[in-house]
């Protein structure tokens, strides 16, 4: 007799599989774990709750992440990259008006943003993935296991490309995103657990690099977004920058660096949240008094813009101001008093919710949702898509197919036809945004349907199904109904990703068997890379008479790169590092072989591994 296992819906989850909540922030990231609604923010090795979203590249080409990255940022020759979240999924032209973000970045041939320094070139996905990898290791150490699944938050106003890039960066870091949720929604979930009840709430979320507004309707067991608005190009960073510019002249006189200036501006802004006046010491007995009024004057135009977005979002939600029972404040920058002042003017006598640390509330919400997903219980989150999706019509006009603020998941079918006799192919340019012309919207990619049988113009019936899933990601399928030719694409952010990473990503999308297989290959790559690294390390130290100082250093760096890639890299990263070492040690190995004859370290084996990877 076969034993049957009886399971409650949702309880089939492997209990050993923990799911963490991650707030991947512009300035700092947090990782949290919830057990029975008790949320723990996990600490890094320096006992910090916040993991700085920063990486540093040393002169030698070593990469440090998080607190360590900031610790060495003022060392000579060290390049520190911050605020990567403001750049991920974007192109340089998206940063117009934010000139200070363009420092240190370049464009590669595909027009993608890359950082290239100290012989290391990294794109925005790779940098984000290094940070996510660090976050994962903090979770691994705290929870004493290999954490593989996470709920990751993104700004509500993030577009398709930005969302996909984050998902991709997480996969590269070995984290499967079980669900991607919007930051303001996560915050509302954290408050819904204890503080708020049935009603309509507005979340004002000013993060380091993004601004979101979400209006939510909550009831027993449900947190539902009814409208979202925002600006993915404005954040607390910009307020610091405004203050920094105001202090520029004094700083130039005192001879300090711009990064120090930004740091001081940030500290000044934070101090003015509690003090009415702050004295600044520029050295040489030069002291300047900076008042909160002056700060308010400076940032007023920007804060007013956010208030306008708040008001527009209320209109979009189809409600009036008086329907709103409370405003939830999220993001460190909401400590700036002017924000509360302005919001109080919009909503008279509104209750503010800010009792949960605005820096931590998003991570807490993510952790709560992670627990809900793994137990199949808890509050249900219902969200909307922030931006309209559409296609480009003849003449460059944008036709909206899924309107913004549609509840997700959702799908809409549209029918297209050919416009020329005998036309056998149809190309659809898929776009996202609210503007009237396609060129002003964000281009997501093109879908080409080939093999339409030749017919008179307007006869073919091409049905295109646009689906937005529960993560807010788009899948487009096209079908010619006369012939039933079907094509489906999941739009990939092709920019910034090399072919092997895309291949890895596609591998990840297939079934588990293949996943296990690729995990096995990764393990093998790692084992081999370790072997090569340790053998060569021994060899260059034993036979350093065969190497010049420069050669020695270069090989030493390449070995370090391998070690880094083993700790936190994809298979292609590791293989690439091994290949690079192979190149740089070719001569040395020959010399060494001549010397010892017996040791054949390199060459074929790397090739073998490559073959194995391909098979």
């Amino acid at each position: 007799m076969q034993l049957m296992q009886i399971q409650e819906p949702g309880s089939s989850y492997n209990k050993a599989d923990v799911v963490v909540g991650i707030d991947f922030g512009t300035t700092n990231s947090l990782v949290a774990h919830s057990v029975l609604g008790e949320v723990n923010i996990l600490l890094d090795e320096h006992k910090n709750r916040k993991i700085p979203s920063a990486i540093s590249i040393t002169k030698e080409g070593n990469i440090l992440v998080g607190t360590k990255a900031l610790g060495i940022s003022d060392k000579e020759g060290v390049v520190t990259i911050k605020s990567i979240k403001r750049l991920i999924g974007k192109k340089i032209q998206d940063l117009d008006g934010l000139e200070y973000l363009k420092k240190d970045i370049k464009e590669n041939s595909a027009g993608d943003i890359i950082f290239s320094t100290n012989n290391i070139s990294l794109n925005t996905v790779e940098i984000s993935s290094k940070i996510l990898c660090k976050i994962k290791s903090v979770a691994d150490i705290n929870l004493k296991q290999d954490v593989k699944k996470a709920v990751v938050t993104v700004p509500a106003y993030f577009d398709e490309t930005q969302r996909r890039s984050i998902r991709f960066a997480a996969e590269l870091a070995g984290l499967h995103i079980l669900r991607m949720i919007n930051e303001p929604t996560a915050a509302a979930l954290a408050y819904h657990l204890n503080d708020i009840n049935k009603g309509i709430y507005l979340v004002y979320d000013l993060g380091g690099g993004t601004f979101d507004v979400s209006i939510l309707k909550t009831s027993e067991g449900i947190v539902r977004v009814i409208a979202t608005g925002g600006d993915s190009n404005f954040g607390g960073d910009d307020l610091d920058n405004i203050v920094a510019n105001d202090l520029k002249n004094e700083y130039i006189k005192s001879g300090l660096k711009y990064t120090d200036l930004l740091n001081s501006a940030n500290k000044l802004k934070e101090k003015l949240a509690t003090d009415a006046i702050v004295k600044l010491n520029f050295g040489h007995d030069k002291i300047i008094e900076f008042s909160r009024e002056h700060l308010n004057e400076l940032i007023d135009p920007k804060i007013s813009e956010t208030i306008e977005i708040v008001e527009e979002t209320i209109v979009d939600a189809g409600i009036s101001k008086s329907d709103i029972s409370g405003v939830i404040l999220v993001g460190g920058s909401t400590r700036t008093p002017l924000i509360k002042e302005k919001l109080s003017k919009v909503f008279s006598e509104i209750k503010f919710y800010d009792s949960i640390n605005p820096d931590e509330v998003v991570a807490m919400g993510a952790a709560i949702h992670a627990e809900n997903l793994s137990t199949g219980s808890g509050d249900l989150l219902l969200d909307v898509t922030p931006l309209s999706l559409g296609v480009e019509l003849m003449g460059g006009i944008a036709e909206k197919i899924i309107h913004r603020n549609s509840p997700i998941p959702t799908s809409v079918e549209k029918e297209f036809t050919t416009y020329e006799d005998g036309q056998t192919g149809l190309k659809l340019h898929i776009i996202q945004g609210e503007r009237e012309f396609a060129k002003d919207c964000r281009s997501l990619g093109s879908l080409e349907l080939l093999g339409i049988p030749p017919m008179k113009a307007g006869i073919a019936r091409i049905k295109v199904l646009f689906t937005i899933d529960a993560d807010g990601l788009l899948v487009v399928t096209a079908k010619e109904t006369a012939t039933n030719i079907t094509q489906s694409i999941e739009l990939m952010p092709t920019h910034g990703l090399d072919a092997s990473s895309i291949e890895d990503a596609l591998l990840g999308a297939r079934d588990n068997a293949e996943k296990d297989h690729s995990a096995k290959l990764l393990e093998e790559s790692k084992m081999y890379a370790k072997e090569v690294a340790s053998k060569l390390m021994r060899a260059i130290n034993e036979d350093n008479d065969l190497l010049s100082k420069k050669e020695y250093n270069s090989i030493y760096n390449d070995i370090n790169n391998i070690i880094n890639s083993i700790e936190c890299g994809s298979r292609s990263d590791i293989d690439e590092a091994v290949n690079k070492l192979e190149g740089s040690t070719e001569k040395f190995v020959v010399k060494q072989m001549e010397k010892h004859i017996t040791i054949g370290l390199k060459g074929r084996k790397v090739q073998d591994i490559n073959n194995m990877v391909k098979n």
Binding site: S12, P409, A470
Partner: protein, 171 residues
Amino acid sequence: MNYFKIFEVEESFIVDLNKLEDLYLKKQSLFHPDKFIAKDEKCRLEALEKTIVLNKAYDVLKSDTNRAFHLLQLQGLEVDLEENVVDIPEILSEIFEEREGLEFASSIDQLKKIEEKAVAQLEENKKQFNDFYTNRLLDDAVITFKKMLYKKSFLSSIHQKTKNIGKLKCS
């Protein structure tokens, strides 16, 4: 697909929106993909599809015009939305007058008055639609439906203009 059946509510233009919302949320709690995240892919896809239909059904039933359109569809009528209401001669002059009135309105107060009138007319249209539909006077129902559509678009023009005037005042 009959969206009324999905929520098990009566096939009628009059719908209790609060009750509909409750039903929608109850069904979401049962079928949402988050509840099936640990299941196999087939289950997850099924949940996704069910939720998509739920969202669509709710979207249709909660809006007056969408609901009216769906009712006509269920009666086997193909209403061509591209074909404008201006094709109905008897209300053409009325539309003309209204549009002119909106164009010459220059104050928020004037716009408010126009809006109030339009809202009242829309309410009247809804009542008429319900009567025609209930008595299966479908030709009249279609014309009234088109009038409703026109009034909605007229209202959004009023809102747009109100917004623009508001902005001018601020700057």
